[in-house]
């Protein structure tokens, strides 16, 4: 014990203190919010209980349930097929199945409802050509189930990505073994592969849960009351901060529940990918299965990307004459500027925390590392207001208030909100490398900084790039924080898209949403390249 203590004090003190300081900065706005909110008297809990709580709770969980079901459906099976079989079109699917990540969920919602609506292309076409069929399609699509499917389409890439990497890294030993024991392909999938990949799949699913809990724009449009819409209503419409905090606590409780679930799931199956097990051979597909495989792989892509993409492109052509290209260019520049700068900072911060966690081996750093990920579960607008309160109440001066409308605070908020997104790829990459690298490095006389620079930066290069791209895309799609914290006259592609969409002028938003999708898709295709390299390297 004494030796460990000495070791800490001598070697890594500065790193640990540094990490504590930064963690303090990251948690401060959230803490302020809670202190402030708890000091405000609210209506008692029975009001919530009597009126809306059951509705909110049911909707929140039901939506999570449907969305998870569809993310698993759209994510797992294609991932399995592509990781194991060789067929014409495989490379294409492998490339495009990520792409729905480039479409913000509110755009997915608005676009599909427009497509399916009474005046949209589907129903109009049916009315004009098959009037008999038309009445079957004339139904109310603004249902919680529809939203669940749409969110499933927008979010399944999280599950797909995680599953795809896990399935590919399993190696053929397990599959060969299960086959020689007489298990059918389907049985070995359920009995061997799924349990072994569960931690990875669950970590993807965890991101899906967080996204659904945070969802505001689409949920409000569909008229579905969840905890998040409840928080907004209580705080803003009623000015009832007490009720808002009660709901926020419930929301965090739900997050905590999923968090523990993930921890349990990953600790039960402690499993290391063996790097020296032979890489899986791709199997050839016989003809009768081929059609089925094509269906399984193409449906998520067609529904999740192709159809909304074509619809938006069509809108762009329709409104071509009214597109303001100068503005489009400016907003694209703004978006790229603020997203890349923030992602860069997030990657540095995430790497720093993970590295300190790795070298310090103290419990406190592990806890901190978990705590700072909490921002991902808190609705963006709540973080935004936490920062406004922090800067205006704690440091009450003209200088601190004028910081509120600056990029510093905007980026500060993004870091709090999206640190978890940047952290997870780096974390899984760091965990894959054996401790012996660090020990060898230390024996060769490297200090912590050199260790990071000479060993961890190069060997985690791909993970860092993935983390950068994923955070970039998330920030590019972000709305509530940008709306409330942005500087004067600063618009991004996302804010402009949203402004047209909520004013019910969807066609005019198309050029901006198309830019989001194009930028996102290009980055994702690049990311795919990186991941492929990573799979081949390790």
């Amino acid at each position: 014990m004494e030796i460990i203590k000495n070791y800490l004090i001598v070697e890594n003190k500065r790193w640990i203190i540094g990490s504590l300081l930064i963690a303090f900065l990251l948690l401060l706005p959230i803490a302020i919010l809670f202190i402030k909110l708890f000091s405000e008297p609210g209506k008692n809990f029975s009001y919530l209980w009597d009126t809306v709580l059951i509705d909110y709770t049911f909707n929140t969980f039901y939506l999570i349930f449907i969305t998870s079901f569809f993310t698993l459906l759209f994510g797992l099976f294609p991932a399995w097929i592509i990781s194991n079989y060789r067929f014409i079109g495989r490379n294409f699917y492998d490339l495009v199945l990520f792409l729905p990540l480039a479409i913000p969920s509110y755009i997915m919602g608005f676009t599909y409802i427009d497509i399916l609506s009474f005046t949209g292309p589907v129903q109009s076409f049916l009315r004009n050509t098959f009037p008999v069929l038309a009445s079957y399609f004339n139904i109310d699509y603004l249902q919680i189930e529809t939203l669940g499917i749409l969110l499933g389409l927008a979010l399944y890439p999280y599950v797909y990505t995680a599953a795809r990497v896990a399935f590919s890294l399993l190696g053929s030993n397990y599959i060969d073994l299960s086959k020689s024991l007489g298990l059918s392909t389907i049985k070995s999938f359920y009995k061997i592969i799924l349990p072994l990949s569960r931690p990875a799949i669950f970590s993807g699913l965890f991101l899906v849960f967080m996204e659904v809990l945070n969802e505001y724009g689409a949920v409000k449009y569909f008229g579905i009351n969840t905890y998040t819409t409840g928080i907004f209503k209580a705080w803003f419409s009623l000015g009832d901060i007490g009720t808002a905090i009660q709901l926020a606590c419930l929301l965090l409780l739900v997050v905590f529940f999923f968090f523990v679930l993930e921890k349990i799931s990953s600790s039960k199956t402690k499993f290391f990918y063996e790097t020296n097990s032979p890489v899986q051979r791709l199997l050839y597909v016989n003809k009768d299965k081929l059609l089925f495989f094509h269906l399984v792989c193409s449906i998520p892509f067609i529904l999740g990307f192709f159809i909304p993409f074509v619809f938006i492109v069509n809108n762009v052509f329709q409104t071509y004459s009214s597109i303001d290209f100068v503005r489009l260019f400016t907003l694209s520049f703004n978006t790229i500027f603020v997203s890349s700068l923030s992602s860069f900072i997030i990657i540095i911060v995430a790497l720093f925390f993970l590295f300190v966690e790795k070298i310090s081996k103290t419990k406190i750093n592990t806890i901190i590392s978990h705590l700072i990920s909490l921002g991902y579960a808190i609705p963006g607008a709540v973080i935004g207001l936490g920062l406004i309160m922090l800067f205006s109440n704690i440091m009450d001066s003209f200088f601190s208030v004028s910081l509120i409308g600056s990029f510093y605070v905007l980026i500060y908020a993004y870091v709090i909100r999206f640190l978890a997104v940047g952290k997870s790829p780096i974390k899984s990459s760091l965990e894959k490398h054996p401790e012996s690298y660090d020990d060898t490095g230390k024996n060769l006389g490297l200090g912590p900084f050199k260790l990071l620079q000479k060993i961890h930066l190069p060997i985690n290069k791909f993970a860092l790039i993935s983390a950068f791209i994923l955070t970039f895309i998330d920030i590019m799609k972000e709305l509530p924080i940008t709306l409330i914290l942005r500087p004067f006259n600063f618009d991004t592609l996302a804010t402009q898209t949203y402004e047209f969409a909520i004013e019910e002028m969807l066609p005019l938003s198309s050029s901006y949403s198309l830019s989001i999708i194009v930028i996102g898709s290009m980055l994702l295709l690049f990311l795919k390249n990186v991941i492929n390299k990573q799979l081949n390297v390790s």
Binding site: T119, G223, S237, D240, S392, F407
Partner: protein, 342 residues
């Protein structure tokens, strides 16, 4: 060498990220309005006066929260909303100061003025009833209250109670009829819903066209937008319904209206410029631009509404003090929750 680059990069970032220095020849606006017509107005104003207009657009309640926290150090001069209730709320939190000049007074029709003088209206809109031309006879329609009677069972469409326009309508009912009657009215409406409240105002009209309901409560200008749509199917949907202004009977109180309005913040750093903008926006030229781009009604009596809007005919607006839309807001929301209007 590397360090040099780093320092240069850092200083560039600092310059890029820092809040712009204050110059006196500008106005800073916190606005809830997202319409592209506003950009046109600001550009015209800039050309006319050389005063630069800076805008942050976000949700009204969040902007109020921001104003409240910024206190005396706020950079904002003007606060723009699409709901008099929010202006009332800002005034109650003493975020606004009185504003009135002879020019503004001359521009605005007295009926829409704030009686306390804390905000200036720029346009107004009515929350009206649209009905299916096929399935509803004009004689069936009369008042908002009538929509709660059983004859409309499973025929009524409206969006969610989270929407500020519905909250304002409910506040007006509370103000006019008292909270007990308002609760009974809400319950009646909920019983008549053709489906759960959801979607946008435009979606309600489409739902009538689709046959999912017969009448809907919507804002007037959305019908204007639908009727000027370039999509043929949307035009058809717009033409399958007609507009009805409720409560127009003799002695009736008139249709519920709400304003887009502007408050001058209590600590406005550029007060003079801000007042110039208010005078400009209520003037005839700017009012014409509003009317023809967003299908709202003008607050300047010398300006006529857009042609599409004029076709619906003149109507009697409810002359309730619009501040009451803010005063009864909380009560309205509690009634929504209690009666199950989602």
């Amino acid at each position: 060498m590397n360090k040099c680059y780093f320092i240069v990069l850092l200083s560039v970032l600092c310059v890029r990220c820092s809040p712009t220095n204050k110059t006196s020849n500008e106005i800073n606006i916190y606005s809830q309005r997202h319409y592209s017509v506003d950009e046109i107005q600001y550009k015209n104003f800039e050309k006319l006066t050389g005063i630069k207009v800076n805008v942050v657009k976000a949700n009204a309640d969040e902007l109020i929260e921001r104003l409240k926290n910024e206190g005396a150090n706020t950079p904002a001069d003007l606060f723009i909303t699409v709901d008099a209730g929010k202006l009332f709320k800002a005034k109650e939190l003493s975020l606004l100061q009185k504003v009135s000049t002879s020019e503004i007074k001359k521009n605005i029709n007295d009926a829409f003025e704030d009686k306390d003088g804390y905000w200036v209206p720029i346009t107004y809109r009515a929350r009206i009833v649209v009905y299916s031309n096929e399935r509803v006879d004009l004689s069936e329609l009369s008042t908002y209250e009538d929509l709660a009677t059983p004859k409309w069972k499973d025929r009524l469409l409206v969006r969610s109670s989270l929407n500020a326009y519905n909250q304002a309508l409910m506040s007006s009912i509370v103000a006019n009829l008292g909270s007990d009657s308002a609760e009974a009215w809400s319950l009646g409406l909920v019983n008549n819903f053709a489906r759960d409240p959801k979607g946008s105002d435009r979606d309600q009209v489409k739902a009538i066209a689709a046959g999912q309901g017969d009448v809907a409560i919507v804002n007037s200008y959305y019908i204007g937008l639908l009727l000027s749509s370039e999509n043929e199917e949307e035009l058809k949907a717009g033409n399958s319904v007609s507009v009805f202004f409720p409560n127009q009977e003799d002695g009736g109180r008139g249709s519920h209206i709400n304003v887009s309005g502007i408050g001058l913040t209590k600590y406005a750093p550029n007060k003079k410029n801000a007042i110039k903008l208010l005078e400009y926006l209520t003037g005839e030229e700017a009012q014409k631009i509003y009317v023809n781009n967003s299908y709202e009604y003008p607050v300047n009596s010398n300006v006529e509404p857009a042609d599409i809007v004029k076709n619906w005919g003149k109507f009697k607006p409810d002359n309730l003090d619009l501040n009451l839309l803010g005063k009864y807001r909380e009560e309205a929301i509690l009634i929504f929750d209690k009666t199950g209007w989602k």
